[in-house]
Amino acid sequence: MSSNAIVVVSWGEGRDGLPAGAVEVLTLGRKVAAAAGADLAWLVIGPASDKLAETAGQYGVASLERIEDAKLESFAPDTLVAAVSQYCESNNPKALLFNQIEETRQIAPRVAGRIGGGVVTNVIDIDASGDLKVTATAFGGDTNVVYELSGASTFAIAVNSTALVAEPAEAPTNPAAESVSVDLSSVEERFAVTQRPQAEGPRLEDADIIVSGGRGLGTPENYKLIQELAAALGGLPGASRPIVDEGWIDSSHQVGLTGKITRPALYLAAGISGASQHMAGCSAAKVLVAINKDEAASIFRYARYGIVGDCLEILPELIKAAKS
């Protein structure tokens, strides 16, 4: 791989066998590489499906690079940081683009620190016509900021892929998969997992339908209306942070900047005001429905359908209508 490339970095196998968010980030990567006059590479670490080469071609990747090592069979942060850092030292890319999942938050900045690069997260757009300029959200999304990146040879950029739409390349490529050699023999994970997460059923991140409740529900008992409507619609229940902090429901249901970043076909929010930090986790929904007793609530600015009223009166009717 020539130096100064734009490199999309992925690991893990998502629902369709591909790393989560990879095709969205590849779409942005292709645009950035074209503007920068650079090659687009895709660095995939650890086990991956057979679909990889085909997808790389569809998305215009010039070179598909693989790091495979027994130590990378499952997510191993110290090893992953070492692998990506070694890759950077021998290939000197201009930018590493990551899909921003929770794991990325420990990998991207550590790689930047290790190789003396720069790092930015929450990125929603990249302009590569001159020096790299990236647009990121700040204050939960109340503002956007533009950062200019210069003074380091490599930048690690974590992209919020829910804000992007995947688009295959007009001219597909035919990249050969190359194996990248790294030496991970001396790397040991400093913290060992003593208890794995007990994932309970499907994840909000993958849900097509989400029904969420907020402080407007009034009492913890009323959260069952959210659960019932979610079940009636074949979806999953979500929540705003205050009711998670209050213990009405556990934190695996929290939607937002510091919770789940979701992208459902339908997001129905009841008794949620629409603070930017909540919307950061659901504004990519195709159809957003808001129920709020305050007609001036911010959530209506994002909604496709709005209902002004008491959610405690409307939710039971919705449950009936959904079941009929």
Partner: protein
């Protein structure tokens, strides 16, 4: 044992939200700074929870000195609050620079920690509620050569190891490893305690240690920003909300019909 908590002062995010919700958030003539002087500065909420995490370890019987350190030009109230909560030592790293990026902030905090006797545990917030970046702790971990354990809801000291319950996308995970380490704290840890009257009295007598960033002996390149903020703006939200009206039963019926017609639900 020494625990260092890194704490940042930020604009009160709830006040920023309220201005944003009212459509009145203003960016100054420089095109990058929120100007409303009525928005107070506060300790970043996750950093306050970092202090709380340390105090919980103390409640559980751990013996350590607790240092809270903050970079900025005027950290008095943040540090007083930290002392009132229970910090043994409060440290202001003073600089007038306004263009420090995450790497520079991490380099300064690292240099301070190294020059003041090191740390067994560095606690940070999972992210600062102004820039939302969540990268400084990882950069500190790399600079200090420490392990990074992000997004903790609970910490437990074992005889010579640290056990951390982390919030992950798949649920809680428990990890265990040796000191030293950098741990970032999330809101799942629970609300930080209020300072007691006794704590406030003691804080009044406590003087912050003030260190000028120039005294830390950092090379110019360690402070030069690689990530430069050039513009900040309030994004526009395109509303096209269709309001459904009628009795609760009517609106419910209309909504379900519309969603079915659009094949959003079955």
């Amino acid at each position: 044992m020494r625990i260092v908590v890194c704490a940042k002062e930020v604009l009160d995010p709830d006040a920023v939200n309220n201005y944003a919700l009212a459509g009145r958030l203003e960016i100054g003539d420089d095109g990058k700074t929120i100007t409303q002087s009525a928005i107070p500065q506060l300790i970043n909420g996750f950093d306050e929870q970092g202090i709380e995490a340390a105090l919980k370890l103390r409640d559980a019987g751990a013996d350590f000195t607790l240092t809270v350190v903050s970079i900025g030009s005027d950290q008095k109230s943040l540090l007083k609050h930290s002392a009132a909560m229970g910090a043994d030592e409060i440290v202001a790293l003073r600089t007038e620079a306004t263009d420090l990026d995450a790497s520079a902030v991490a380099n300064i905090l690292t240099a301070y920690i190294q020059s003041s006797g090191g740390a067994d545990l560095v606690l940070c917030g999972r992210q600062a509620s102004d820039d939302d970046q969540g990268v400084v702790p990882a950069l500190i971990a790399e600079a200090l050569g420490m392990a990074l354990v992000p997004i903790a809801r609970d910490l437990e000291l074992k005889s010579d190891t640290l056990s951390v319950t982390r919030v992950t996308a798949d649920g809680d995970e428990v990890v265990e490893g040796a000191f030293p380490a950098v741990v970032t704290v999330s809101n799942e840890l629970g609300d930080p305690r209020f300072p007691t009257a006794k704590g406030k009295m003691a804080a009044r007598k406590k003087k912050p240690t003030v260190v000028n960033v120039d005294e830390l002996g950092l090379a110019a390149e360690a402070l030069a920003p690689k990530v430069k903020l050039t513009r900040q703006f309030v994004p526009e939200i395109q509303g096209n909300c269709e309001f459904l009206t009628g009795s609760p039963a009517d609106v419910a019926q209309k909504l379900i019909e519309n969603l079915r017609a659009e094949s959003v639900i079955q």
